[in-house]
């Protein structure tokens, strides 16, 4: 049976020492979000995840969703868990109090999402999609739609979805065919088929609000002719209660490799009534806002999987007795030593751990800037934070989900043959993690977003938000001999990143295929440096606390040692990545298409 404990101690460390969580309450609207309150909330959330959601994870995977007569049944216990979840107000944690939300910072929700995803990724899909729909409506819908629908999304009695993909249109949304025809009453009749719709149909809520991309009759071709519509499963009556059934139905659900307790539906829209969200033909813009938030959320899914996988691997490695240490028995009293004595097992564990903790710090920092970008009174600060978030979004999505998958794989490896069988529970993480590298824009697309959109924007302005703080921090830390073993490798890797950035900008300007060929390696290089930056900061914070005698010494010493591992054993991959980037597009493009 797998185990899970929410990493509250590490979350606290990160929020205090990397983010400076006390700064949140200085933002307008977040006055009440004091560190005490935030940690209290997270402790409660941890309890819910550990006690309610986690126990449903393995059974939910076994049972899966069922499709019966047009209705989707979630696995046993999901409905009760969902009621508990929304009943305690978790759905509206970071939502606007005007619509019944708790009005807590997005950062708090980000940290909670990690717990939820560790505990039960499938379950997390349902509230996650609703929050996505909430964000899109809150930003783009008119007051009428907001007043009618947002309170239901916030209290969780109704759920939400994002209906983008069609059978022939996945990554390339410009070619979607779903139509929206204006009706006399100002609403629209929506007709078309959407596939791969997560939470498209389920039995958790009394109503479901679909956000649907469709084309107006006179819309221009391509992405500039796409509009966003709100299409409820049941049309609300005069009291706002679910009324008559709308022309939208689930045609079937997919049988999937992972997240089997999350329903993935084919949705058929047949002259379904919908309302325009935002402006005509500006749907992609609205969707991008939603997608950016969703991409960060998927990155956090990767982090959640990585954490729970690591916990199980570490626990198993400590208790599994097999063979002896290479240097002779460590536990002669026992029939064999635990496998954790072996360097290679430790390499596996430390790899998962160093990535996971680094990612948590980076995720928290991005989450913090999300709040600053939204709330800071100084427009310049808002803009700078927004730019940081924009730059880091593809990195968080792709890097974190790769880390999640790698950590899940590591967990299986550490378990040996036991990891390969279902009962142990860790192979589920491999299967569940796999989709996170694919949906919300494959990781390859994320890399293209980074080199194609983010890198060159305004002669590299977004890059400044990362390169300048890192450069400044290194300039100071390089002066400090005590930090040499951390700052020096990071400085080297950072220089490689600078060089690679210049190289791609230069080559990519002349030949976009050069940028495309470097994209994935570049994103990884960037991500590794970003995590290195987090580790440098964590070392400094841990040492400062150790010096002052504050905190849990064992925890803090472990931080320093994990940082050392990261700098010495993981960060140097940047050297190889730089070499492959510099090798250019030639080796990828020279083999003729027909020779494949």
């Amino acid at each position: 049976m797998p185990i899970y404990k929410a990493p509250l101690q590490d979350v606290r460390f990160v929020l205090e020492s990397i983010v400076g969580v006390e700064r949140l309450s200085a933002l307008p609207g977040y006055e009440d979000a004091t560190p005490d309150l935030i940690f209290q909330v997270l402790e409660e959330g941890a309890k819910l995840c550990e006690e309610v959601l986690f126990p449903l994870n393995q059974p939910g995977d076994a049972e899966g969703c069922r499709f019966e007569n047009g209705v989707v049944r979630t696995p046993a216990g999901f409905k009760e868990a969902y009621d508990t979840y929304v009943g305690a107000g978790w759905q509206g944690l970071s939502c606007d109090p005007a619509y019944g939300g708790q009005g807590l910072p997005k950062l708090v929700n980000t940290m909670l999402e990690e717990f939820v995803c560790s505990a039960n990724l499938s379950f997390g899909m349902y509230p996650g999609l609703s929050l996505g729909a909430y964000n899109a409506l809150a930003l783009h819908a008119g007051d009428d739609l907001k007043d009618r629908f947002l309170p239901r999304l916030v209290d969780g009695t109704w759920a939400g979805t994002m209906c983008l993909t069609e059978p022939h249109a996945g990554t390339d949304l410009g070619i979607i065919r779903t139509r929206a025809v204006p009706k006399d009453d100002g609403s629209y009749a929506i007709t078309g088929t959407k596939i791969f719709i997560s939470a498209g149909e389920h039995d958790l809520t009394e109503n479901i609000l679909h956000l649907v991309l469709a084309r107006l009759p006179d819309a221009p071709a391509g992405t500039r002719g796409i509009s966003l519509f709100l299409v409820p499963k049941f049309l609300p009556d005069a009291d706002g209660k679910p009324g008559p059934r709308n022309g939208v139905a689930c045609g079937s659900i997919e049988h999937k490799m992972g997240i089997r307790a999350s329903s993935t539906c084919v949705m058929n829209f047949d002259e379904a009534t919908g309302w325009l969200v935002g402006e005509p033909n500006k749907g992609m813009r609205a969707m991008f806002v939603m997608m950016n938030a969703a991409r960060l959320a998927v990155g956090i899914q990767g982090l959640g999987i990585a954490e729970v996988a690591y916990q199980n691997a570490a626990a198993y490695a400590k208790e599994r007795l097999q063979g002896r240490s290479l240097k002779g028995p460590r536990h002669p009293d026992k029939p064999a030593d635990p496998i954790i004595v072996h360097p290679d097992v430790r390499r596996n564990l430390l790899t998962a751990r160093a990535y996971t903790e680094g990612a948590r710090a980076l995720g928290a920092l991005v989450g913090y800037h999300l709040d600053v970008a939204e709330r800071h009174p100084d427009p310049r600060q808002r803009r700078e934070s927004d730019e940081f978030v924009q730059l880091m979004t593809p990195i968080v999505k792709a890097l974190f989900t790769d880390i999640g998958f790698d950590a899940a794989n590591i967990a299986v490896q550490v378990h040996g043959g036991h990891g390969f069988i279902w009962e142990t529970g860790v192979e589920q993480y491999v299967r569940d993690a796999r989709i996170t590298q694919i949906y919300e824009g494959t990781n390859g697309i994320q890399a293209l977003d980074l080199v194609g959109r983010k890198l060159g924007q305004d002669m590299g302005r977004l890059l400044r938000r990362f390169f300048h703080p890192v450069s400044a921090e290194l300039a100071t830390d390089m002066e400090n001999d005590d930090l040499a073993e951390f700052a020096l490798p990071l400085a080297k890797a950072f220089a490689k990143l600078q060089q690679a950035t210049g190289l791609i900008a230069q080559k990519g300007l002349k030949d976009p295929e050069e940028a495309g060929a470097a994209a994935t390696d570049y994103l990884r290089l960037f991500g590794l440096v970003a995590l290195g930056w987090m580790w440098l900061r964590m070392v400094k914070a841990a040492r400062a606390r150790l010096a002052s005698g504050e905190g849990d010494a064992a925890f803090l010493e472990a931080k320093v040692k994990t940082a050392r591992f990261y700098m010495a054993k993981l960060l140097p991959q940047t050297g190889a990545l730089f070499i492959t980037i510099a090798a250019g597009a030639g080796p990828l493009m020279e083999l003729e298409d027909t020779a494949f």
Partner: protein, 779 residues
């Protein structure tokens, strides 16, 4: 005949502009106009001309190259001051286009003018034959037409028309004066209506307007096609009409219709469009009126660019059209004209009609095609003249286009029979004559064009940003070739290569000229590259770029051979700094120089501070002590002063008093080369200067001054930061007034100040703003 004194009669926009430009050439000029009717006694009877001079001084762009040139203009009136004409070698008539008024005026000036003086008219519509009718024989011999374009200082075309009686020596002398002294491209035209440029230009405008209406294009679409893609200024047709005044059209049309031969294609093309007639009637005459085809709508506080809908006549927000034809064709003009959509049809119609019309006019309006192309380039700012455009399309392809469009193939195009109108033979440019043979394109004495050199052979060496050319007699020319002639590491490498090749200047190479034929000499360092490097915190590389620039410019300054700069157009920032390090600058009169670095939040880092300081320090007219020179350099750099002419650049010491000015751009390189050879004879490099600088004491004084300016609200917070750094450099940092400081020390201060400033977020904002908007940010 020497023109030592001139007169202009008629102080309107053209007359006063011509007078100003004659003054720019250093020639005293009398400007006469009428005495206003009903003048009270004792009032200034020359008020019209005097007022015109005052207007000239306020006009923007400035008609005078230097305000002091106004002193060369003597205002007067036609009743009291006709006697002044007796001293003038050239009299320009620029009065209203009325043959009777002109004839009367000629009869009045003929008796008082100096014997053998030349009289010319600036008419654009009246045939010379009509002008001289009934005038004395002497007058007819001394008379010709000099047709300037507006504004006379800036438009390079001068159409020169002689009559059967005109003395050829008078015409030659005047042509020479206009070429060398006024810097004009003199094109000899025949005495035909509209001469060359307006004849073709009027047809082009009419054809383009007709086609826009016929094919249903918006004004933006039309201007996007009949603009940049054809090498025509981006204003296109409708933007150009707004600029020159929409009500000018009917005037030109009327005069052409009155004088053009029967059967001229213009007559068939001429159409009155009700919308345009309505616009003129309502005062929508363009930028000078209440709006034109475009207007800026300031209702509601904002500024919204609007365009008129050619169908409805209503204004609507302007769009940025992206015609598919343009995207598909790229730079291929033929593909554009072949594109099936209506914008392609537009390109086809306008090109076929206009080019065929132009081709049908040789030899009617000019002896050769070269004159026609030159007139359209210099008079309408086309990048290529009609025959060059036909060559771009291919003369056989063009003949075919005419057939497809149902236009008679012009005889000259038939004669070309698929051959180009221009070809390069033995490294020389040749053109097709009316009898179907090729003959070299003539270049007057003293004209050396880099483009000719380039046609004749390969560069000595080149990289991505610069090329080195052999311009003969042991002189090398370094040409910038980067986009906008921005400067980067490759530019520095090219200087290095030039120095290595020239060596001690005693071998095959004797001297270096820095010159190019682009619109602008150089707008300075490549900011885009710098910003990207800055964004990714590549500090050491940025510092290396600063140091490399200093190293290179210093090496050029102290090289054992002379270096002559030959700029035209803008020479800003790093482009100005190279001039500061040259032994001699031979500047085109229209050179706009400035150390504008503070506009992007930095200080000149390639020796600009150091050199400008040295120049002021060497000025014997300044009071004693180090501060006056520092204050002067500080003022110039801190205000990012840009000279609006080579003459003004001397005031600001961007140019030395001894530097040369060439009025005609085509003569610039030859003048620079001659100077380089002159200097090469017995050349010794300059001695490094030493500086006496006050250090912190002087800096405090400048800081106080800056603080004062800030308190007056004239300096922004970041201006203060930048100016303090500049003060630190110019006062020598920690210098002690008793210890002379060498150049190296000041250059080191420049570098340090530069690097400190690029670390400032406000500087980054300025650079970014400049790159995205083209304007400085006042943060």
């Amino acid at each position: 005949m020497q023109i030592q004194r001139a007169a202009v009669i008629g102080a309107g926009v053209m007359g006063s502009g011509i007078a100003a430009h004659i003054a720019n050439a250093g020639v005293p000029v009398v400007l006469l106009d009428i005495v206003p009717k009903g003048m009270p006694a004792g009032a200034d009877r020359s008020a019209v001309a005097r007022g015109a001079v005052q207007k000239l001084l306020k006009a923007d762009p400035a008609p005078f190259m230097h305000p002091k040139n106004a002193r060369l203009v003597t205002p007067g009136n036609l009743e009291d001051d006709l006697g002044l004409l007796a001293d003038c070698d050239w009299i320009v008539e620029a009065v209203i286009e009325d043959p009777a008024i002109k004839a009367d005026l000629y009869r009045r000036i003929d008796p008082v003018r100096k014997a053998g003086s030349v009289v010319s008219s600036n008419t654009s519509t009246i045939p010379l034959a009509a002008l001289v009718e009934g005038q004395s024989e002497a007058f007819r011999r001394d008379f010709l037409i000099t047709h300037f374009f507006n504004p006379p200082r800036y438009m390079r075309l001068l159409e020169l028309v002689t009559g059967p009686d005109t003395r050829s020596d008078a015409a030659d002398a005047l042509a020479d004066f206009c070429d060398r002294r006024l810097g004009k491209g003199v094109v000899r035209c025949k005495d035909r209506p509209g001469f060359i440029a307006n004849r073709i230009g009027a047809f082009w405008i009419q054809a383009a307007i007709n086609a826009a209406f016929d094919l249903g294009l918006s004004v933006e679409e039309a201007d996007a096609i009949a603009g940049r893609p054809m090498g025509i200024p981006k204003t296109g047709i409708f933007g150009l009409m707004d600029l020159v005044g929409i009500d000018l059209m009917p005037h030109i049309a009327r005069s052409l219709l009155a004088t053009l031969p029967e059967g001229d294609a213009y007559r068939a093309a001429y159409r009155e469009h009700p919308l345009i007639a309505r616009m003129i009637a309502e005062g929508l005459t363009g930028r000078k009126g209440k709006g034109g085809f475009y207007r800026l709508n300031r209702d509601g506080g904002g500024k919204v660019k609007e365009a008129i809908d050619l169908k409805t006549g209503a204004y609507r927000p302007a769009e940025r059209p992206k015609p598919e034809s343009l995207a598909a064709a790229g730079r291929d003009l033929r593909a554009l004209a072949d594109h099936p959509d209506r914008t392609g049809a537009y390109a086809r119609t306008v090109l076929a009609g206009t080019l065929a019309y132009a081709a049908s006019l040789v030899p009617e309006i000019a002896d050769d095609i070269v004159s026609v192309d030159e007139a359209m380039r210099l008079g309408y700012n086309w990048k290529q003249g009609p025959f060059e455009l036909i060559d771009r399309l291919g003369s056989d392809w063009f003949a075919d286009l005419c057939r497809r469009e149902g236009i008679p193939v012009p005889a000259l195009v038939e004669r070309a029979a698929g051959r180009p109108f221009y070809r390069v033979e033995g490294g020389r440019l040749e053109h097709l004559t009316v009898d179907g043979a090729y003959t070299p394109v003539p270049r007057p004495d003293g004209v050396l064009l880099l483009s000719d050199v380039k046609r004749a052979g390969k560069p000595v060496w080149k990289n991505g940003s610069a090329s080195l050319w052999n311009i003969g007699d042991g002189v090398m020319c370094l040409e910038f070739t980067s986009k906008m002639n921005t400067l980067d590491a490759d530019t520095m490498a090219a200087y290095g290569k030039a120095m290595a090749l020239i060596g001690d200047g005693r071998g095959a190479w004797k001297a270096l000229v820095v010159h190019n034929e682009a619109d602008n000499f150089s707008v300075g360092a490549n900011l885009g590259l710098a910003l990207f490097a800055l964004n990714i915190a590549l500090w050491p590389q940025i510092e290396e770029m600063v140091e490399a620039g200093q190293r290179t410019y210093r090496a050029l300054k102290y090289a054992p051979f002379p270096v002559v700069g030959a700029p035209s157009g803008m020479a800003l920032g790093g482009g100005c700094e190279i001039l500061l390090h040259c032994d001699h600058v031979q500047a085109h009169a229209e050179t706009y120089v400035g150390l504008v670095e503070v506009g992007v939040g930095v200080i000149p880092g390639w020796g600009g501070c150091t050199e400008l300081l040295a120049r002021h320090a060497a000025d014997p007219k300044l009071p004693k002590g180090p501060m006056p020179a520092i204050a002067k350099a500080f003022e110039t750099i801190s205000l990012a002063k840009v000279a609006k002419s080579a003459a003004e650049a001397k005031d600001l010491k961007y140019l030395r008093a001894t530097d040369g000015i060439t009025m005609n751009r085509a003569r610039l390189l030859a003048d620079a080369k001659a100077k380089a050879l002159e200097l090469a004879d017995g050349y010794t490099p300059p001695q490094p200067a030493t500086y006496t600088l006050p250090g912190p004491g002087g800096r405090t004084a400048l800081d106080l001054f800056v603080e004062g300016v800030r308190l007056q609200g004239k300096a922004t917070p970041h201006d203060v930061v930048v100016c303090r750094k500049l003060a630190e450099v110019l006062t020598g940092g920690d210098a002690d007034i008793t210890q002379p400081v060498d150049e190296d020390a000041i250059l080191a201060l420049e570098r340090k100040a530069f690097m400190d400033l690029v670390h400032e977020p406000d500087t980054v904002d300025r650079i970014e703003h400049m790159l995205t908007t083209g304007k400085p940010l006042r943060n």
